[in-house]
Assembly symmetry: C2
C-alpha cells in the first residue's frame, strides 16, 4: 500500500440540510450558476426551496437547465458560456450524477478558452489538464453516482458516441449538501439503478485493486451489506426516509475514496458500460446491473479465491466449499439480489442485441485500453474477452 489521498469536500448530510444551502454557498460566492437536469427539481419544489435559501443568504442565481441523463459536452460548453457571460463566481449542481458531473466540468471550462472536450480523456493526442475551477457545491437529488464528494466526472459526446471521464483535484466540490429528503420522489426503477451503481463502485475496487488491503476489503463489504439491507426498503417504499438516508450515505462513501483508497483499482465494468450507454443512452446503473455479474463470472475463473471471499462474507457461504463453486454461487446470489430490486441483468431487457458486440469492445479499448489492446483490471481483458462477457449477458 502506497498512495496519496486528499478529499477536501465539506459534507453536510441529513434530512433538511437543503435549508443550509445559502449559508454554505455564501462562504464562497455571491452569484451562482444553478445547474439542473430535466426539470423534476422544479416540479417537486426543490429548485424553489434552494433559490429561497440562496436569496436569504444574499446569493443571486443564474440558471442552466436541461442537462441530459448522460450529460453532453455541448451542455458543458453552454453552461460555461452562461457562467462567463453572467459573471458567476460559484456553480451549484442541483440534480443527479449527470448534473453534478456536468457542473464540475462547467466550473473548469469557465477558465478554458478551447473546446471543453479537450479536458475529457478519450484517447486524444493532447489532453488539456485543468488547473483551476470555480467552486462547486453539489446537491444530489439521487443516491447513485457518488459524484457529490469526489473529483471525477463522466461526460458524453453525442457526435462521436463516446462517453468518457475526467478526474482532477481542482474539480473537488467545495461542499456537498446531501439531503435524503430530496430523494423521496425518485421513482422505483431509478432508485434500484442507484443501488446497483453504488454497489458497483465498491465491487470494482474490491475485485480490481491490489492485494493486501484488509481494511478496504472490510469497508467495501460493509457498504455492500448496508446497501443490500436498506436498498430493497428504499425501492419498495420510496417514502421511507430512514431507508433513503442509509442508501444515500452508502452512495456517498462508495465513491468518495474512503473505500478504495490505496487499492489502485481499475474499473473495467464501468468502462464497458460507458460504451453501452454511449451507444444506447441507457441508464448507467441499469447497464452496470447487466455487465457486472457477467464480468464477475469471467473474472472469478481467474481469481476464484477472491470471489469466494466475497461469497462467504456477503452471503455466509460455508468455508469448506471449493473456491470456484463458492464464487459462482455468490455471483448467482448477487445477480438474484439485483433482479429482486428490479434491475435488468440481460442486454435483451434493454433491447440491445449482438450486432455491435465487437464495436462495443473496440470502443471500450480505444478509450480505456492500456495501449496494448488490453482493458485494465484483474484480469486484463482483450477485445475477445469483452465480447465474451457481453455475449454471456445477451439473454
Amino acid at each position: 500500500m502506497k498512495f496519496e489521498f486528499s478529499n477536501p469536500t465539506r459534507l453536510i448530510f441529513g434530512a433538511g440540510s437543503l435549508s443550509r444551502l445559502g449559508e454554505v454557498v455564501s462562504r464562497m460566492g455571491t452569484r451562482a450558476l444553478v445547474v439542473t437536469g430535466g426539470g423534476s427539481v422544479k416540479r417537486n419544489g426543490t429548485f424553489g426551496r434552494a433559490v429561497a435559501s440562496l436569496a436569504a443568504a444574499g446569493v443571486s442565481v443564474v440558471e442552466c437547465s436541461g442537462i441530459e441523463p448522460n450529460p453532453r459536452i455541448t451542455s458543458v460548453a453552454r453552461g460555461a458560456q452562461i457562467a462567463r457571460d453572467e459573471k458567476c463566481d460559484i456553480v451549484i449542481a442541483l440534480g443527479g450524477g449527470s448534473t453534478m458531473d456536468a457542473s464540475k466540468v462547467i466550473a473548469a471550462a469557465v477558465y478554458y478558452d478551447g473546446d471543453p472536450w479537450d479536458m475529457i480523456y478519450h484517447g486524444q493526442e493532447k489532453l488539456h489538464v485543468p488547473t483551476r475551477a470555480l467552486p462547486v457545491v453539489t446537491v444530489p437529488t439521487l443516491a447513485a453516482t457518488g459524484s457529490e464528494m469526489n473529483c471525477g466526472a463522466v461526460i458524453s459526446n453525442a457526435e462521436t458516441s463516446v462517453k468518457s471521464f475526467i478526474q482532477n483535484e481542482c474539480l473537488s466540490p467545495y461542499a456537498a449538501v446531501v439531503d435524503p429528503e430530496l430523494t423521496l420522489s425518485v421513482p422505483q426503477d431509478q432508485t434500484a439503478y442507484g443501488v446497483c451503481d453504488l454497489i458497483t463502485h465498491v465491487t470494482e475496487g474490491y475485485f480490481n485493486g491490489v492485494d493486501g488491503t484488509p481494511i478496504q476489503d472490510r469497508f467495501a463489504e460493509g457498504v455492500i451489506q448496508t446497501a443490500m439491507e436498506w436498498g430493497p426498503k428504499a425501492v419498495s417504499d420510496g417514502g421511507d426516509l430512514e431507508a433513503r438516508a442509509q442508501v444515500q450515505w452508502a452512495s456517498v462513501v462508495a465513491l468518495n475514496g474512503w473505500v478504495q483508497v490505496g487499492t489502485n483499482f481499475a474499473a473495467p465494468v464501468h468502462m464497458i458500460e460507458h460504451t453501452l450507454s454511449a451507444h444506447h443512452d441507457i441508464t448507467h446503473g441499469a447497464g452496470l446491473a447487466v455487465v457486472n455479474p457477467a464480468w464477475m463470472r469471467f473474472a472469478a475463473r481467474v481469481r476464484p479465491e477472491r470471489f469466494a471471499q466475497f461469497a462467504r462474507r456477503m452471503f455466509g457461504r460455508p468455508a469448506g466449499q471449493d473456491d470456484l463453486s463458492c464464487a459462482l454461487e455468490g455471483i448467482d446470489l448477487f445477480e438474484q439480489f439485483l433482479r429482486s430490486i428490479g434491475c435488468p441483468t440481460r442486454l435483451a431487457e434493454m433491447n440491445i442485441g449482438d450486432d455491435l458486440l465487437a464495436r462495443y469492445a473496440q470502443d471500450t479499448l480505444h478509450i480505456a485500453g492500456d495501449g496494448n489492446g488490453r482493458l485494465p483490471g484483474r484480469p486484463l481483458m482483450s477485445e475477445a474477452d469483452i465480447v465474451e462477457v457481453l455475449r454471456s449477458a445477451l439473454k
Copy 2:
C-alpha cells in the same frame, strides 16, 4: 444521522514516504519548526533523513525537542515562542501522538498572546477558541493516536494534574506523511499499547454513538478485525513491515473521522483514562487497556444487545445465545486479546491502588462532565459509576 464533516488533511502513506517530506513541506513553508520528543528520532536516524529531505527542498529547520510522553502546556508555550522568535512559517511534528498534539497547539499558540492553556478545554469560564494556526505537517513514528490526520490534541497541565483536549478545524494538519518504516523500531510494549489505543478509538464510537449507523458499525468492525489480525504480528515481530503498515493504516482511519462520522459519539473511556494518566503519567494506551474492558462490562448491563452484536461479529459468537451472556463472553475475549499482546488489564499492574478512586472520578467529571454531574456516553455515568468501573479493574 445528521452531521457536517470535513477532513482536508492530505495523506501520503507508504513505506519510504519520509523521502517526500521536503517536497510536501515546501508547498506551504520555507522555515520549519521541527518538533520532536525524547530523542529516539535522532538516535535512529529519522531526524537526519527528515532534515536532509527538507534541505534538498530548500526548507530550513529550527528545532523544538523534548516534548513529553504526556505533552505539557509549558512545552507548547516554549515551542510557540521558538516559532515566533525564529519566524517559522510551518510546523513539522516528527514523533508520536504527544509530539503531534503539541505541534498542533504550538501552531495555534503562535497567533495567541495569552497563556495557551486558555485554548485547552478544562472547565474554565472563558475558553479561547483559536481561528488560525501555522500549517502543520505530521510525520508519525508510532501507530496509535491517529493524531496525524485529525484536528484534535490532548495536552497536560503538570501543575494542576489536568489532562484535557482541544478540537478545532484550524488545527487540521495540512498533510500527514505516514511512513510505516518509521515504526519498525517501536518497542514491543509501545506497539501493543498503540494497537489498544487505536481499537479504543473505534470502540468509543461503536458503543457511545447514536443508533442507526450501520455503515459506521461495519467500518468500525473492519478496523478492529484488522487490528486484531495484524496487531499481534507487529507485536511479535517488530521488523514485519507489512504488519507495521496494516497497523498504522488502521490507526489512521481509527480516528480520522471516517469510522465515527455521524455517530455523534462520546468517549467516556478516554475521559476516565486521561485522569489516570494525568495523575500517574502512564502510557495512554496501557491505561485504556485497563479501563475499556471494565467500562464495557458496566455498559453491557444497560445495552446488552449492542455488546452482543460486537461479540457475534468480532468473535463469531452463536446467534442463539442470550444477549447479556454473549456480550460478557465477547468482552472476556476482547480482554484476553489485549492481554495476549502484552497490555495490562488491571490497575495493580500499573501500581495504581484504590486510594484516589473518588478523586479520579471527580476530576473526570470536572473536565468532561455534562454540567449535571454525569459523564457523557451510553449510559451516562455518575461519580459512583466511575468509581465502580475503576474498582472492578483494581486487581
